[in-house]
Amino acid sequence: MSAREEILRRIDGIVPARPAADVAADYARIDRDYARRHHADGVLDLFADRVAHYRATVLRAAEAELPRVVAERLAARPGTHGAPGDLPDAWLAEVTSGLVRDPAVADLDGLAGAVTGCAAAIAETGTIVLDHGPGQGTRALSLVPDYHLIIVRAAQVAPDVPEALERLDPSRPLTMVSGPSATSDIELSRVEGVHGPRTLEVVIAE
């Protein structure tokens, strides 16, 4: 008997398999009395506050100011920055420092940083979610360089975890980012900066 058959046989012997419709009906009966959101309003302020709490830098800019802010942030970190090929040109219009679109994985470690958009954000937890679709590049792009600048559009910010998950497509790879890389491994106190980007900057475009 294969391992698969044997394990399933054991399980079926203990908790017998039932028709899928019965399982689905039981699933629907699970109590979910928790809140869909914890804060009624002030979502953007909450988001900015919660992201900053992780010691990330948070900037807020009107859509029209975005090119200037992005250019300033990148100029503050000399070197070449990577960006997804499909990040809107307008966002990068004022960048004067080195910029490479869709860099090869082998070149990522030499970059000063990466700038990307995102798929959604969660105010309550100060989380930004990338699904590596348009404007976000591969998972490696926003991981290997030591600096990550993320542009979050105000409409992308969901108040809380449940609503954010509803907006996401599970078939995409998802990366949820809550502050810079950190560890609690030394005496259980949080220290920023291990393998992921040690500096995280977030621009909220309103």
Binding site: V15, H132, T138, A182, G193
Partner: protein, 490 residues
């Protein structure tokens, strides 16, 4: 592996270890309480988390088949392993098939349980732990002592010494500042991440409906392993399933706050099979039984399979705080280890038979558990099983057998009580028994046993017609407060 009392005695005597543990668990306890208090619907989240997990366990065959179907559809390959050896065999063969002799690893309880690193080493494959704490443990030729923070027994200067000694590329003059230590680990592992062809990971959640795997982490080493190598092999216990994406809204709130006391952990990665042009080209999922079906068969003990490995129960446990993780002789220490290890390994060894006793039953673990596992209930249940099936606890078994025999007959009970009352005159001059005879002295080595009362309750009841003729005398010779140590924590 020594049984818990022996291992714990040694650990408790180590004042430095106790200091490190008390500091770390104290820190996290306070923070966790604050993180949990911030959500006014915590109890409802906890109840939903519990129900979701129970629902999965009650329909495990259904969900495993569904997960397999969805992972396969998304381009992954699913393997099944009855036990640790089979899982290790599968992983070793997969690594060999790539022609590689090195793998990078993300912290994974399942592969610690199977002893994967040692099994791979025997096949000539080097496994590099990339989580900072796991790296400290690996370089220190040590064993993990905490689920979430495997090097919790080490303080910053221990860690600096280990890095200086064992890390060939450790910077000159490395200090014990946590940021410097983290920087040293970053440099040490960067080249490995960039060149590794095969990674091995664990799994926090597997979504049956979509075939999506989820890993929560902090440092980015997980993202490196899940993203950069060409081949990814993930090992998960069969109980790690949630039915749908929607369930993550519960667990992504429960887990980070319970474990590191954060609103959200720095990085959570999900992937569904392979994603062409982004990440590994080859994905393998190993579904591990290794005693989980036996655990499922025990209707009381089954709830241990709800565990999401947050480690909150460790951090609040007075026994863990003093004894440390090594004393449990298992990759799962603390309260969860005391109920999970004997179940998945079977109560066949001294260490496993002793684990259900590694608790004061104070209940703090149950309070803290985000999926409401009633750990004290399972402990008591397993104590009974240990007495019945355990390897050899001759004194205890004899005592229990004698107790059963005595209690079944009122006449025998009355006789036993008269004998006990008589004996107190001999052994308990101050109302405490300082030393029990024979093998029972293990009990009195660290505490006094109360002496039996001068008159048993039954004898008093009979003599006074249930107290109608004479109220019960206060017991004489009770603890005068100067004599004897207490067993409970301070």
């Amino acid at each position: 592996m020594p049984a818990f009392p022996d291992a714990a005695r040694e650990a408790v005597a180590d004042t430095r270890l106790r200091g490190n543990l008390a500091h770390a668990t104290g820190t996290i306890r306070e923070r966790r309480a604050a993180a949990v208090a911030e959500l006014d619907d915590w109890d409802a989240l906890r109840e939903s988390g519990k129900q979701i997990k129970d629902h999965v366990l009650a329909n495990l065959g259904h969900y495993l088949r569904r997960l397999e179907e969805k992972v396969t559809e998304a381009g992954g390959t699913v393997h099944w392993a009855r036990d640790a050896a089979e899982a290790n065999r599968i992983v070793a063969d997969l690594v060999k098939a790539t022609g590689e002799s090195e793998v990078v690893k993300v912290k994974s309880m399942a592969t610690q349980e199977t002893g994967l690193n040692e099994a791979l080493a025997e096949e000539g494959i080097a496994a590099y732990e990339t989580d900072l704490a796991e790296l400290i443990v690996q370089l220190g030729h040590d064993r993990p002592s905490h689920i979430l923070v495997p090097a919790i027994h080490r303080n910053r200067s221990d860690i600096r010494d280990i890095f200086r000694r064992e890390m060939p590329d450790a910077p000159e003059g490395l200090t014990d500042a946590p940021a410097d230590l983290a920087e040293a680990a970053r440099r040490h592992l960067r080249a490995k991440f960039l060149s590794a062809k095969v990674a091995v990971s664990g799994v926090n959640f597997a979504v049956a409906d979509t075939g999506t795997l989820v890993v929560l982490e902090s440092e980015g080493n997980g993202r490196m392993c899940l993203t950069l190598p060409e081949t990814l092999i993930s090992v998960m216990g069969v109980e790690k399933i949630v039915p749908s994406m929607r369930d993550l809204e519960v667990f992504l709130q429960l887990l980070p706050r319970s474990s590191t006391a954060e609103r959200m952990n720095p990085y959570t990665s999900t992937w569904t099979g392979v994603h062409p042009g982004d990440g590994p080209r080859d994905f393998h999922l190993v579904l591990l039984d290794n005693g989980r079906t036996e655990t499922l068969a025990d209707e009381v003990g089954r709830q241990a399979l709800r565990c999401i490995r947050c480690s909150a129960c460790l951090n609040v446990c007075p026994v863990y705080e003093r004894a440390g993780g090594h004393a449990y002789g298992s990759p799962y220490p603390g309260p969860i280890g005391a109920i999970l290890s004997p179940q998945i390994r079977g109560i066949g060894s001294d260490v496993d038979a002793s684990l259900p006793y590694a608790s004061s039953l104070c209940g703090a673990c149950f309070e803290a558990c985000p999926v409401a596992i009633d750990i004290p209930e399972v402990l008591v249940h397993l104590r009974a099983r240990a007495v019945e099936d355990g390897p050899r606890h001759p004194v205890e078994r004899a005592a229990m057998t004698a107790a059963g025999w005595t209690l079944r007959s009122p006449a025998r009970l009355a006789l036993a009580q008269r004998l006990a009352s008589a004996s107190r005159r001999i052994v308990a001059p101050r109302g405490r028994i300082r030393r029990l005879p024979g093998p029972l002295n293990a009990w009195t080595e660290t505490r006094d046993a109360p002496a039996p009362p001068a008159e048993s309750f039954r004898a008093w009841w009979a003599r006074t017609d249930g107290g109608r003729t004479e109220p019960r005398a206060p017991e004489d010779g009770t603890d005068d407060g100067t004599d004897g140590r207490t067993e409970e924590g301070q």
